[in-house]
C-alpha cells in the first residue's frame, strides 16, 4: 500500500508541474523516477515514450501507466495514472469556475513567460541526457537529425517517423547480425 501511495504522490507532483504536455515532463521524470526512486532506467523511460507515442492516448498518461504497471502491476498503473491526472482536474475546474479570464491576467502572463524559459532549459538538458543513452553511432546521429528536422519543420505525423525509425533499426541491425 505504501508503494502504491508513493506512485500516486510522485505522479501527482509530475502532473502538477508539467507545463506544455508530455514532453515537458521528461526532466521531472528523469529526476524523480530515474535518479531518486530508481523505478526505471533512462533507457526504459525513452522506450516508454516511444511506445506511448505510437499507441493511442495521451503520452503522459501512457508513460505513467507503464511505470506504474512495471512496479506494482495493474493497481500500480491505476494509482500512477490517477495521480498524474488529479492535479489537472482540480486546476482546470478551479479555473473554469473562478477565473474565466485567467490567461488575460497580466501577472499570469508574466509568470508563464518566465516559466516557459525554464521549460526550454530543462528540456534541453533532458535531451542532452537522452542523447548520451540513445545515440550510439552515426546511424543514431542521422536518425536524430532527420527526426528533429521533420518534426520541427514539416507537418508529417510523429507516428510515421517513429514507425520508420523502428523499421530502420531492425533492418540495419539484422543486416549487421547476418554479416557476422
Amino acid at each position: 500500500m505504501k508503494e502504491l501511495w508513493e506512485l500516486f504522490i510522485v505522479f501527482f507532483r509530475i502532473g502538477a508541474f508539467t507545463f506544455g504536455g508530455g514532453y515537458a515532463m521528461l526532466p521531472i521524470i528523469q529526476k524523480e523516477i530515474v535518479d531518486d526512486k530508481k523505478w526505471a532506467t533512462n533507457e526504459e523511460v525513452i522506450d516508454y515514450y516511444a511506445i506511448g507515442q505510437c499507441t493511442p492516448g495521451i503520452i503522459a498518461v501512457n508513460t505513467a501507466t507503464f511505470i506504474g504497471y512495471k512496479n506494482k502491476g495493474i493497481l500500480g498503473a491505476i494509482f500512477a495514472t490517477v495521480g498524474m491526472v488529479f492535479p489537472s482536474l482540480v486546476i482546470i475546474i478551479a479555473i473554469a469556475n473562478f477565473f474565466m479570464h485567467f490567461q488575460d491576467n497580466p501577472i499570469v502572463q508574466h509568470a508563464f513567460a518566465g516559466v516557459r524559459l525554464a521549460v526550454v532549459a530543462l528540456v534541453v538538458n533532458a535531451v542532452v541526457r537522452m542523447w548520451k543513452t540513445s545515440v550510439k553511432d552515426i546511424v543514431g546521429i542521422i536518425i536524430f537529425g532527420l527526426t528533429f528536422l521533420i518534426i520541427a519543420f514539416t507537418k508529417i505525423s510523429p507516428v510515421i517517423v517513429i514507425i520508420l525509425s523502428a523499421v530502420l533499426g531492425i533492418v540495419l541491425n539484422l543486416k549487421k547480425a547476418t554479416e557476422r
Binding site: 505510437c54 492516448g57 501577472i107 508574466h110 532549459a121 535531451v127 528533429f148 517513429i162 533499426g169
Partner: protein, 188 residues
C-alpha cells in the same frame, strides 16, 4: 444521459487519438459539430488555457469540456473516459513488453527508436523555444533582426541553462523561480 455520452465520446477519443494531447483537437472539433457542447471560440480559449496550465494538454481539454458541459461530475467522467483506453492498452503492452524486451528484434527496433524519440523531444523543446525566446510577431511587423531577439528572455534563459547544469536541484524549483522572476521583471 449526458454523463454516459461524455464517457463514451471521450473513450473514443482516447482510443483513436494517436500522438498525444494536441492530437485530440480534431476529435474535439468533431464533437462540437455533433453536439454543440461548447462553441468554437470557447474551444480556442480552452486550448490556450490547457497549454498554459500544468498537466497533460489532452487531460486538461477533457476536464474543461466535461466541466462546461455537465459540471464537476462531467469533468471527471470525460477524463476517466479519455484515460481508460490508454490504461488498458498500455497494461497489455507492458505485460508483453517485459517478456519480449530482451528479444533481438525488439532490441533492434529500439536501437532505431531511441534516437528518434530524442529528436522528437528536441523538436518539442524547439517549439517552446520559438515562442519564448524569439518575438516572431514583432519581427514580422518591423523586419528588424534586433526585434527578433528578446534580450531579457535570452539573459534569463542563459542564467537558467547555467543554473540547471550547475545545481542538480529539483526541476520544480527552477520552474517556480522562473515564474517569480517573470512576474517581478514583467516578462512576456
Amino acid at each position: 444521459m449526458i454523463y454516459l455520452k461524455l464517457l463514451l465520446e471521450f473513450f473514443k477519443i482516447g482510443l483513436f487519438a494517436v500522438g498525444g494531447g494536441l492530437a485530440t483537437i480534431p476529435f474535439l472539433q468533431e464533437l462540437i459539430d455533433k453536439y454543440g457542447w461548447v462553441t468554437p471560440q470557447e474551444l480556442v480559449n480552452m486550448i490556450a488555457i490547457s497549454e498554459s496550465t500544468p498537466g497533460p494538454i489532452g487531460i486538461n481539454m477533457a476536464t474543461y469540456v466535461g466541466f462546461e458541459t455537465a459540471g464537476i461530475l462531467g469533468s471527471i467522467v470525460a477524463t476517466v473516459g479519455l484515460v481508460t483506453p490508454s490504461v488498458i492498452i498500455i497494461v497489455i503492452i507492458a505485460h508483453y513488453f517485459m517478456r519480449f524486451a530482451e528479444q533481438p528484434i525488439v532490441q533492434a527496433g529500439f536501437y532505431g527508436l531511441r534516437p528518434a524519440v530524442t529528436g522528437l523531444i528536441g523538436a518539442a523543446g524547439f517549439e517552446v523555444a520559438k515562442v519564448s525566446l524569439f518575438k516572431l510577431q514583432k519581427y514580422m511587423a518591423t523586419k528588424k533582426i534586433l526585434d527578433l531577439l528578446d534580450i531579457k528572455s535570452l539573459i534569463l534563459f542563459g542564467i537558467l541553462m547555467y543554473a540547471t547544469n550547475k545545481f542538480k536541484w529539483h526541476p520544480i524549483i527552477f520552474l517556480i523561480a522562473a515564474g517569480v522572476i517573470g512576474i517581478i521583471f514583467k516578462f512576456g
